[in-house]
Symmetry: C2
Amino acid sequence: MDVTQRIEQALEAALKRAEVPESPPKLAAAIRYAVFPGGARIRPRLCLAVAQACGDDQPQISDAAAVAIELMHCGSLVHDDLPAFDNAATRRGKPSVHAAHGQCEAILVGDALIVQAFEVLAVAALARPERLSGLILNLSRFSGMSHGIIAGQAWECEPAIALDAYHRQKTGSLFAAATASGAIAAGYEPQPWVILGERIGEAYQVADDIQDMLADPEAWGKPCGQDARLGRPNALRELGLDGAVARLKDLLKNAIDSIPACPGAAELRNTILAQSSRFLPEELARRAA
Amino acid sequence: MDVTQRIEQALEAALKRAEVPESPPKLAAAIRYAVFPGGARIRPRLCLAVAQACGDDQPQISDAAAVAIELMHCGSLVHDDLPAFDNAATRRGKPSVHAAHGQCEAILVGDALIVQAFEVLAVAALARPERLSGLILNLSRFSGMSHGIIAGQAWECEPAIALDAYHRQKTGSLFAAATASGAIAAGYEPQPWVILGERIGEAYQVADDIQDMLADPEAWGKPCGQDARLGRPNALRELGLDGAVARLKDLLKNAIDSIPACPGAAELRNTILAQSSRFLPEELARRAA
C-alpha cells in the first residue's frame, strides 16, 4: 500500500469508529468535511517516513501517530479560520468549515478532533501500552498552551508578539510532533528527532509566506495576502524573494543533516527531499530558482 | 488534607506546569481565569470519592483523574458560553471568559484545557503506565463526538434533537467519566462505575433545570431562564416542581443502589448523599421538600 492510501485509510477508520448512531449527524458530517479531502497531508507523511526509517515494527501505532497529528492539524485549521481569528472563507479550495456548516459546528469540530487525536493513540497502543505515555506527552506538548500550536495561535492575540516562539509554536511544533511521534511509534527515543521536524516546519513556513504573497489563490485553495492583511510577519516581505528562497534551502539542508542514526536514514533523506520539493508549486519554484 | 484543598492544589499544580516563559501571557491568564475560582467542583469530588472508595493506592493518579475531568469541564463551559452558543455574559458570578478576555482567547482557552486534560493524565501515570490507556479512553469517550459532552453540545445545533442522547451526553457523560476514572485511577475496572456517574449526572441536570427556572441569578452565578430562551428541554417545565423533585430523589436513590462492591462503599454512599444535598440551594430545597 502506498503512503497516501495508508494515511487516507487510517483517517477513514478513525472517523468511522467515532460515527456511532448516537452521534449528532450534522457534527459527524462537519467533522468529515474538515478532514476529507485533505491537503498535502505533509505532517502524517513525515511521521510515517520517520516511523519507517526506525523500522515501523508496529504499523498500527505508526498509523495512529500519523492520524493523531493530522486530526490535530485539521482541528487547528478549523478554529484558525473562524471569524474571531482569520475569518477565512475558503480552505483547501472549498468553503471553510464555519462558512459551510456554521460557527457552532466549527467550534465543536475543532474540539472533537482534538479529543479524537488522543483517543486514536490510546486505541492503537493497547498492543504496546509502554509506548502510549510518550505519544500522549509528545502530542500534548506540541499542541498545548506552553509549546504547542495553541500557544502559537494565541500569540496572534497578544499585544506584543514573541516572534521566535510564535513561529516555532504555530508551525514548527506539529512538524516536531510528527517526527518525534513517528520515532516513538517505532520504539525510538523522541528527543533526537525534534530538530528534524522543527527545521522542516520552519522551511514550510517560509514556503507558506512565499505562497501567501505570490500564489494564485485558486490553485493554493485559500486566500492570499493574509499576512499583510492581518499584520503578521512574512519571510518574503522581510528577506525578499532571493533571501526567502535561500533561507528555505538552508533550513532543509539543516533538517536533513540532523537525521539521527537509524536503519532507514538514507531513504528518509530522499523522502524528505522529494516531499519538500512540493512546498512550492512548480511555477513558484521556477521563479524562485 | 481535605478534599477541597486536594483538588485546588492539584489544579494549581497542573496549570503551573504549563505556564512556562514561552507561553503567551494573555492566554495563560485567561486559562487561569477559566479554572479559578471554581464552581462546586462536583465532578472532581465525585472522582476522588470513588478513587478513595477503591483504596486510592496511587493518589497522584487519582488527583490527575480528578483534574482532567475538571479541566475538560471548565473548557466545555468556556466554549458553551461563546456567542455562537449560549452567549452567556456571566459564569460562576463573574464575566464569562469571552466577555472578560475576548472570543479569540476563549476559543483557545477551551482548546488548551482539552489538551491539558490529557497531558495531566500522561504525566501522572508515568508511575503506573498500565493505567494510562484506560484513563485516556475513558476521558475521550465521555468527551468526544460519539458519546461525550461535545456530542451533547452539538445536539443543540441539530434540527431534530435526540433528547435521551442529548441529556446523557451533555451532562451525564462527564459524571460517568468522573466515577469511571476514579475507579481506573485506583486500579479498578471502570464499567461497573459508569451507571453511578450517569444517574448522578441526570439528578444534577434536573437540579440545574429547577435552578434555571427558580434560582436567584446573582446567587446562582449565571443567567436564569436560559432553557426557555434557547428552546431547550427543562424537567421543571415538563414535570412541575413536585414531579421534578421526585425525579431528582429517584435518580439519586438509583445512583446509590448502583455502587459496586468496594472497600469504601458505605462512606461513598454518605459522601454522595452529602454532596447531592447541595445540588439545590437551601431555600429551593425547602420549597421543593
